[in-house]
Amino acid sequence: MEITEHAGNIVIGNDVSLKGVLIVPNRAVVNGSIDGEITAKELVVGQTGRIVGHAKTERADIHGEVNQTLAVSQSLILRSTGKVTGVVHYAELEIEKGGLVEGKMTQQSSPANTQPAPAPAPVQTPPPAEPVPSAEDE
């Protein structure tokens, strides 16, 4: 198992699909699919990854697909296999040749935090599939 056991991270493996609200204090790696909301400090969507819903993060590295809303308070990198549709908020942006964006782009000049979030209270609904071992148990 290569699942990183550091606290605050989540890895959603290939073929794993998830519905719900995820709040990830550190890094979220999405190779499966998420339907819902994800808030993470750092969001990596792998080539097979797919998010439908709202994604909010400081730094995003997108190889897969993000639909609906992507709010990145710092840097957003869209790789050549990446595809983003919907509304995109970013501070700094880079798109590799082949990356696709369809929708509205808005830029925040400084890496300030994006306000429009659901309540910041931890309303974490534990998703049915839980591929992350909680590090606190150890």
């Binding site: 840097s75 990198i77 700094e92 942006l93 880079e94 798109i95 590799e96 040749k97 082949g98 990356g99 696709l100 964006v101 369809e102 929708g103 509205k104 782009m105 808005t106 830029q107």
Partner: protein, 157 residues
């Protein structure tokens, strides 16, 4: 698509978006952004040349309002407002273009606002864009400012 009909005849003076007030001399004409900036590595994979093989150049101090149609390439280092129908448009680091452009290759290093339909869109880090762009292929260098709407199209050919 949008704006394909709102071109030359309907808009002979090219007076698009009169809300814009150019802050000439202070804004687009920054001496720090010289045309000799190293941009050689940022080239299109499909170069377009006009019949004579040379691009038409609107140089730095030129302010042009009107519409341009050319089967070749156009390079803007000055200020242009209007509608363009060209095969390849480059907005240089000191260039400012406001209006609608229909082209194969759109290479932006300066400022652009308006709408565009293009096949290949290339945005350098010095670019500031506020536009509605339909494209097929996109590259954007880190640091560029892009606001507006993007649409993906699949142009045959």
């Amino acid at each position: 698509m949008f704006n394909k009909s709102t071109n030359t005849q309907d808009n002979p003076k090219g007076n698009v978006q009169p809300s814009y007030t150019p802050s000439e001399g202070s804004d687009y004409n920054q001496p720090s952004r010289s045309a000799s900036e190293p941009t050689g590595s940022y080239r299109s994979s499909m170069e377009v040349t006009s019949g004579s093989g040379k691009p038409s150049i609107i140089s730095e101090d030129v302010v042009l309002t009107g519409n341009i149609k050319t089967p070749g390439a156009l390079h803007i280092e000055g200020t242009v407002k209007g509608d363009l129908e060209v095969s390849s448009l480059t907005i240089g680091p000191t260039g400012l273009f406001e209006g609608n452009v229909n082209c194969k290759i759109l290479n932006i290093r300066g400022k652009f606002s308006g709408t565009s339909v293009c096949r290949e869109l290339m945005v350098a880090s010095s670019a500031q864009i506020d536009a509605k762009i339909t494209y097929q292929d996109l590259t954007l260098q880190r640091g560029a400012g892009l606001r507006g709407e993007l649409h993906v199209a699949n142009f045959a050919e």
